[in-house]
Symmetry: C2
Subunit: 277 residues, 2 copies
């Protein structure tokens, strides 16, 4: 195989296996290349990926040696993406009775899912998550996209217990925003005991659902690797969870005037945004 | 930019924008390359993609000219993937009371979602779908993955009407397998009138849910581009929909003996499998 062919193969292999360690010996064998040529190939791929904000590489030491691709996003990409959302979410006809925003169309779009997944995966790349946890329904596509970029499984918490889920752990909780009692249920077999999970959802108001997910995770002796939401409301300012990352924040919704205030989320708060550099 | 860098860029660009026409003029500009060099680059990428079963390219004629990447899968990949599923799904401890199979772990795994999405996208590549339609909950990750490989939005039908979905079209139907009355609801704004949609779900028994989705689609003056399910039961042989593609078929479930018969799905029925070549 020629260098040009190897570059195409390597690029495809890394992009389709994010966060997965690949041994150099294996690679050399698969591509029929000497390790020295392969190192040069890798240097080229790496340089282009890093320069274009596609991602970075982590070199693993040890017997065989290996390399792992960590998807990334550039600051410019993140800002442009959220600026686009800001414009779309502020459209007057998205305001539904009760001051809710219609977002289902946006949450189904491949470009949005892809970019949001990338942003979350980038932000939580070093959090040591072993699974991405979400609760049905609207957070699932975001969780799938995030999990894809982290190379992790997704685990879906159900609102009702299902016969097809086997034995499950259930939890009743009071929704933070409307004070209704809600139920969550997670099948015993869906999540390994003691897992570290990244929680992803589409929306956070008071944070009651996120907190319930944290508690449910504790029932599995698991830990939270992070909480990422697509949108969060500015009010109430104090959420029921300590720490979360939002892409977009929703301020005042003026149902009469059909205006809504859409802001950059906590993802962009200076301190943490800089950290990503 | 050198050829080697351009190859990495092109590979990334195509992989991350399946089914999207890219104009050669745009490409040449973005990569700062002459059109003639670019044509040679594209020939290299194309050859590797086709040889490795990553996908094919479609050249579009017209003023500017363009090219589109169509993700594919090799026969070997499809067979190996389903052979792996066959083994896993046949594990004795997957059998739940009532003869159901526990599959939620498998349906959350990134390798499975990726491969299943690829297979469906490959099979329905030419069906002219404009959206991927599914009903909550377990089919959503499969729909997301399929939609990603087709470059399409997903549309999620809900079991209940929600305030965050705005006005919706609802449908009551009798579930084919357990004869219970169920409800489906799709928000008016989620699907453009007259859309052609690909239906994706995790499981089909009698086909009642799929048929209800077809009917719901008709309420939007839409048409069905195809129906793809991860698993289908062999019984009842006659389904409530005429045509569907399953990856895996479930035969006899022996709850006492803890044995289940798992077969290759209709995806692999000779005639249609060959067609893909």
């Amino acid at each position: 195989m020629r260098r040009s062919d190897r570059l195409v193969c390597l690029t495809q292999l890394f992009l389709e296996n994010p966060h997965t360690a690949v041994s150099l010996t294996d690679l050399a064998e698969r591509l029929g290349a000497a390790k020295s040529s392969l190192s040069e190939d890798l240097a080229i791929v790496r340089a282009v990926f890093e320069q274009r904000g596609i991602g970075t590489f982590e070199t693993l030491t040890g017997a065989a040696g290996g390399i792992r691709y960590i998807p990334g996003v550039s600051e410019t990409f993140a800002v442009e993406f959220v600026r686009g959302l800001q414009k779309e979410l502020a459209e007057a006809d998205r305001i539904l009775p009760g001051g809710f925003l219609f977002m289902s169309d946006i949450l189904g779009r491949p470009d949005v899912l892809d970019a949001a997944g990338r942003l979350f995966a980038h932000r939580f790349a070093g959090a040591g998550a072993e699974a991405v946890l979400t609760v049905e329904t609207k957070g699932i596509p975001l969780a799938v996209s995030t999990a894809r970029y982290l190379g992790l499984p997704i685990v879906v918490v159900r609102r009702n217990q299902r016969v097809t889920e086997g034995s499950a752990v259930s939890l009743n909780y009071v929704s933070g925003s409307d004070r209704r009692i809600q139920t969550m249920s997670l099948s015993r077999r869906s999540l390994r005991e003691g897992s570290r999970a990244l929680i992803i959802d589409d929306f956070m108001k008071a944070g009651g659902t996120a907190r319930a997910l944290v508690e449910l995770l504790a029932e599995f002796h698991g830990r939270v690797a992070g909480i990422g939401v697509f949108t969060a409301t500015l009010e109430p300012e104090k959420k029921l969870v300590n720490d979360y990352v939002s892409l977009v924040d929703i301020g005042q919704v003026d149902e009469e005037g059909r205006r809504v205030e859409i802001l950059f989320g906590t993802y962009f708060r200076k301190e943490s945004f800089r950290k990503e550099g």
